[in-house]
Symmetry: D2
Subunit: 296 residues, 4 copies
């Protein structure tokens, strides 16, 4: 499975009654498949996975797999707080055609989430999963940190093939790369430090802007890989404004609004999230226009 | 419904295969009901609620309701990330006999959890709930803060009758009391600041140690209410060691281990949590022995 | 020396050229001495001590000592980053008539400020000081925390007689009281949790509002000591608005502006601090008016 | 003045009675001048500047200027909490031969250190300084953050020529570069992210390891500038262990101990700092040996 490149962590389309909308999923993938996107992540943070029931989750995976051809990796987020529930979600995802599962750290009982707890959790999940496992660390949302020493130990498991690190701490990304074997894929989750992450050895990214402006993201990736660092840095800087808007400023509602500007129809987020305020649309449109990627 | 006093947030008993164990629930309540506990909270943080499926949650509520007589309030934790799922869980809890629901803040999408988002969420839940709603703020675990200004607004809803504030910031508790109507019940969630919280107007507590040493907790409450402040403070100090062990040090595994020392049989926590290390048992036993409440 | 009660941490008066103004110091003390203030702290955080040279510091101490009669304790802030400089400043303060010195934790090299470093520092200062030493912990400003275990060890030094704890964590204040001998004076530094601190054993406070509304602060203290807890809590709540304005909102500039409203003439703070914006004066006046203590 | 390259922030040598030792300063510079170090910073954080009196500071500057020839930039740390004291220290440094001054943010009154306060402070310092001014942001030590928007405004001042950013947030460094004019020199202060900082446009670094292993630091810089990114990254990784030991782990005491291993004689740090524990020497020696730069 190809893990080098730029992955799009897609939002989950809902219909007007806020139900999972398989039709909108199919329609959106029809467009995404025409873009330079290496692969797709469903049911990640941007997929509002925490709002879906197990049944709804399965429907999203099934619809995505139907849309995505086998030459594009389909990664499914299956992290749950309990080890057992994570194992079950991972099994169902594999049965529904996932190429890999992306397992966010359990995090509710923060003070108990020690090195040993993470090793037990991920080892049990990886032992039982039919498809490869990607670790997923997102400290800003979870309040726990999957440290390089723990990742180094887990990377020796034959079924743990990489990780998504969503933090912007480039020194930690560098440590993750240097403390894991060459084949272990470290993927960046923060667009505003994507170029720096690539410099220190990340092999790709799972980036919200890749849902909307994949060419810009892919071009940054290609320039960095080609050693054209000045151009890569210039591309990185052009991506920062939209990355900020889709990240800390407007989050998932911002991503859905940006995709609407780009012509996608994914509905609005589930409460307690709310559609972005009216003022946001203009900001998003301006940030996207600068990248000259969205058809008028 | 009586909300003044000391409530026990009970852990969920599992059998040896880590399944919800209704028999152990019944047996544990048989003992708890003999103790000076004002009422009970099931499916709170200490109840490992994040590890249970919706079906399992319902079984816990049903078993608890069967055990707890109607003169003792039974409060059920029903917080979910999505508003809709919280509404559904609250309805089921009410149908199963809950006297009130305790609704932890949604928290996953931290930067979007604004004043407006909390108002929308809790208003929708309270509008649709057949039983009264208690707000629940636990910033150390969730990373979001339900501020006094937001609580003040929500307290005007006729179906929102109080809150649990698990933070140790006594100034915030004081603010919550002074910015809400007289009948709004502010309950403390941190044992080590329980006495100070009572001083500034909290009307009770939902305290993990109340599962194990309820007499000590109730005595602290009674002394403070009686204006016997020196004795209350002395009791508070005697409770700090066990409060620390059951809180930040050992968490839910510590609570289950302490209850085992006290003669309860609740099984062990679900992975990724693990039973406490052997060294913990001696520390817990010593801290409990100081309170002279547990039969030898 | 009397350490029980309410102390005023006075700002340093400057003239219009921003030089230490001994005349304004004398004039201000002439009024403060008519108020129910137990004692005074000069060169504390509110005294802009970090902006003064050693010579200027000495002039402030000399002017204050000339103004303050011997029956009111005069405490001088002498904390410096280096142990040697702290010792020298403490010696000079004692020679100029200080009754005690208040020594803020060194804090610049945060990761090196261990238990051992604090013990070495304070022991050396206390060994060499002719007057008693008060420890001073202000984590919000310094980024380091003088923990109860360290204070417990230092409290056994015969020349370390108490401490000022400026944090609002009432559990920590309770720990400080319970882990030190009965004669060790724990003084609160945060007005908004002053009542709760008194409940858990603090013997007094060093409170910015005591410079402006000392009667209200003293009344809160007296009510709490008399066991009139309901009235104390009501008084506490009336003090919160001015405490917030003089603390996190406007800081030292706010204190100087409030004192100007109250008829004191202390000049403005040194740059990079700036006088409060115009809008602040109205807010301060309104908060003060509620306390009905300032002559119109 | 040349600001591109690798600068050594040297520790201040003390004699056995902990006095500033001009002889040791001269002897140390005699060796440093033989190494590939672009220029020197005295009285920075690593120079224990917060422990020195104004007189001692002047002696260090004078001794350093005597040692350092005019073709190597000598930068002097002159940050003080008050604007006036900073101006005076900067003037004296210029008179004693400093090529530039490095001015750390004032930080004591954290909540008052707004954009406007920083603009006022630095503008006043730069207006009055005879030599160019470098801004200096070190959030981990100061608790305040000099944000890119503030730096962007200050960078238009003709006498503010660059800054040292000691944080490891590479996105912030990238923002600083992109929001300031081409000639404004952004220098990194964290060795473990030095390579990533260079990738996003930093023109050099002021790095503690450059005092001990300057060839390794300079080689990393040269490789990055030459576009030999794979080799630069490999060099970066070899520098991480010593960077960690000289940074968060052992700080200034670690730097003095490492220099002792390398044959320098700088004495020990001032209390409350203490020499490193015995165990540290072996760790430092091992980390240095890996770099094969220190003569046996």
């Amino acid at each position: 499975m190809k893990l080098h490149g730029v992955f799009a962590p897609i939002p989950t389309p809902f219909d007007d009654a806020n139900r999972v909308d398989s039709g909108r999923i199919a329609a959106a993938f029809a467009r995404w498949l025409t873009r330079p996107i290496t692969g797709f992540v469903v049911l990640g943070s941007n997929g509002e996975a925490v709002f879906l029931s197990e049944d709804e989750s399965d429907r999203v995976v099934a619809a995505a797999r139907q849309a995505v051809p086998s030459d594009r990796p389909l990664i499914v987020g299956t992290g749950r707080e309990s080890t057992e529930a994570t194992i079950r979600a991972s099994k169902r995802a594999a049965e529904l055609g996932a190429d890999a599962v992306l397992v966010r750290t359990p995090a509710f009982f923060k003070s108990q989430m020690t090195h040993d707890a993470f090793v037990r959790h991920y080892t049990a999940v990886a032992d039982s999963s039919r498809v490869p496992v990607l670790l997923y660390n997102f400290t800003a949302l979870t309040g726990v940190n999957l440290l390089p020493a723990t990742v180094a130990q887990l990377a020796s498991h034959p079924n743990i093939v990489g990780m998504k690190e969503s933090g912007g701490d480039v020194a930690q990304i560098s440590d993750l790369v240097s403390s894991t074997p060459a084949g272990f894929a470290v993927l960046a989750g923060t667009t505003s430090t994507f170029y720096a992450a690539l410099c220190v050895g990340a092999v790709g990214g799972i980036l919200a802007p890749a849902c909307v402006v994949p060419e810009s993201c892919k071009r940054l990736y290609d320039l960095a890989k080609a050693g054209r660092h000045d151009e890569a840095l210039a591309m990185q800087r052009r991506l920062v404004p939209i990355a900020r808007l889709l990240g800390p400023t407007y989050g998932v509602p911002g991503l859905k609004a940006a995709l609407k500007i780009a012509g996608y129809d994914l509905g609005i987020p589930r409460p307690p999230l709310a559609p972005v305020p009216d003022a946001a649309a203009a900001l998003l449109a301006a940030a996207l226009a600068q990248l000259e990627e969205i058809p008028a």
